[in-house]
């Protein structure tokens, strides 16, 4: 990573660090369907715009240019910010010969691919691990639960956010295309799936509970409970099947909220009737 900073001057570094800190509030001011997260993006790259366009007119033009719908997973969105900063620099240097609309079109084109990477890393891997560990501790009421959850999620998040600001500035728009061509992204998505699913398996085992309270009446003896037989078949077979059933229902396009209520209703009735 060291060569990342080689061709970045101290002034650039200062500007990019400012962009990095501002990027934390990127989604603080969403505005309707016309702008969506554009205000936050423009606010984040303001250090670059103020540096490259000291003239108020040019700066206003650049700000207006960036007020187009924007949305990229927070922790990777700084790549687009660094890139936009370097392109604004080009535009300022070659003012008039440079087509500034390309800045916005490249930024917009990056939204899908970058969010794809960001979602699989941060929602797929990091959050599943953080939640798995956090929920485990929280179940016993330990303060370590929320603390570990926040640390495990935010440490890679903040690091990635920082380096991507610089990477976007120095590597340019070909970087992402190259990353897709090199097969890295497909592999990354696959890895995210494996880690995420193993954590989901863990969370099903500890956070979904369902057991039968039913007993078989036996004449002249104690009634026999059914649950031990299920346990000897496969421990936790009921919670596991229930989760699979919910997954199947979602695959069949059932709405998530409807499903919550269906499960709530079924669980309530099963409990009320003393079956579970």
């Amino acid at each position: 990573m060291s060569k990342l900073f080689n061709n970045i001057s101290d002034a650039d570094k200062k500007m990019l660090t400012k962009i990095y800190w501002r990027s934390f509030a990127v989604f603080a001011g969403p505005c309707g369907a016309a702008y969506r997260q554009a205000p936050g993006f423009t606010m984040s790259i303001m250090p670059a715009l103020e540096r490259y366009y000291p003239e108020q007119e040019k700066r206003a033009e650049a700000m207006q240019r960036h007020m187009t719908p924007y949305n990229i997973t927070q922790n990777v969105g700084t790549f687009a910010m660094g890139l936009a900063a370097s392109m604004e620099h080009e535009n300022a240097v070659h003012y008039g010969d440079y087509d500034p609309s390309s800045i916005v079109s490249i930024k917009t084109a990056l939204m899908g691919p970058l969010s794809g990477i960001g979602d699989s890393i941060y929602w797929g891997i990091v959050r599943c691990i953080a939640a798995g560990v956090g929920i485990g501790f929280a179940a016993s009421g330990s303060i370590l639960g929320p603390i570990l959850f926040l640390v495990i999620y935010n440490l890679p998040g903040m690091l990635g956010r920082y380096y991507l600001t610089f990477l976007g500035f120095s590597m340019g728009e070909n970087f992402i295309t190259k990353a897709y061509e090199s097969g890295m992204i497909t592999i990354l998505t696959k890895c995210a799936g494996i880690i995420g699913l193993m954590m989901v398996g863990f969370m099903i085992s500890s956070n979904v509970s369902l057991s039968l309270a039913l007993t078989m009446p036996v004449s002249g003896a104690e009634p026999i409970a059914v649950q031990p037989y299920l346990d000897s078949l496969l421990m936790g077979v009921l919670p596991l099947s229930l989760t699979m059933l919910c997954y199947w229902a979602l695959k069949k396009k059932m709405n998530q909220n409807t499903l919550l209520f269906v499960v709530l209703g079924i669980g309530f009735v099963l409990g009320l009737l003393g079956i579970c």
Partner: protein, 268 residues
């Protein structure tokens, strides 16, 4: 603690967690596990807050804000269920089942605020026309405060007015109904997990879910150990895939090409 004080504390927890999350880089302080902890801290019962927060985290695992669309609003759900568990004497299970309808109602209310953000459009236009960077920051902060403060007011009203009603209602419930709620609360986690699965599953990787499940159920391994195993497996498979991919490319292109600077970067 008086009713007014309770409502203030719950509202504060809501504002800090929900607003703070979007001001500080979506740092996940809006997730139930954190919201529950902070609400519990403010109301003087940390342990209850953490336990309910953790349980709700599992239920709402799938409810994340991706692309601005939410399916449920876990923050209000967590604040209310923790508050009522601590102050109105609800059991954990009752509190958890209460969270579901609350989350749903507040999510449909969210539409109001999404529309509300439109009123700031002229202000944004004006600061951009003037090239006014400081003004832009000011409008964003104003919009941020307006949205989360008005949302917090709704929470205040619900807790302030609802506390006694919830308490009175719950004390009337017969045991069989309470048992029903407990069973339902245990089952709800399945929905959150299913939503996560929908994001992650492909036909070739679903088997890993059962590996994680069996390791946890039969060997009782803690989450961190399973995470380590999962990462090692994923890296091994990833590296093998990378080799196969490179090999394929070499075969289609004939001779290996000279590496450009970017490719060197990926190979590091």
């Amino acid at each position: 603690m008086s009713n007014l004080m309770i409502a203030c504390m719950a509202t504060l927890a809501y504002f800090i967690c929900y607003g703070g999350n979007w001001l500080f880089g979506q740092c996940m302080i809006e997730r139930p596990i954190v919201v529950g902890t902070i609400t519990g801290l403010f109301l003087g019962d940390l342990t209850t807050g953490i336990i309910i927060g953790g349980a709700l985290e599992a239920i709402y695992m799938g409810a994340v804000n991706i692309g601005g669309a939410t399916s449920a609003e876990p923050v209000s759900a967590t604040v209310m269920s923790v508050t009522f568990a601590i102050t109105a004497g609800l059991s954990m299970e009752e509190a958890i089942t209460l969270a579901v309808p609350v989350g749903l109602i507040f999510n449909s209310l969210s539409m109001v605020w999404i529309m509300l953000t439109n009123i700031f459009q002229p202000a944004y236009q004006k600061v951009c026309d003037n090239g006014d960077g400081k003004g832009l920051t000011r409008v964003i902060l104003t919009s941020w405060f307006t949205i989360y403060f008005t949302r917090a007011i709704i929470i205040f009203c619900c807790v302030y007015l609802g506390s006694e009603a919830v308490q009175a209602f719950m004390s009337q419930l017969p045991d069989s109904v309470i048992h029903g709620l407990a069973v339902a609360a245990g089952m709800l986690g399945a929905v959150g997990m299913a939503v996560l699965m929908k994001m992650l599953v492909s036909t070739e990787n679903i088997g890993w879910l059962f590996v994680g499940f069996v390791l946890a159920k039969y060997l009782s391994l803690p989450a961190i150990v399973i995470a380590i195993i999962a990462v090692v497996i994923a890296i091994t498979i990833g590296l093998t895939d990378k080799k196969i991919h490179d090999l394929k490319q070499m075969m289609t292109e004939g001779t290996p090409m000279a590496l450009t600077e970017e490719e060197e970067f990926f190979n590091e």
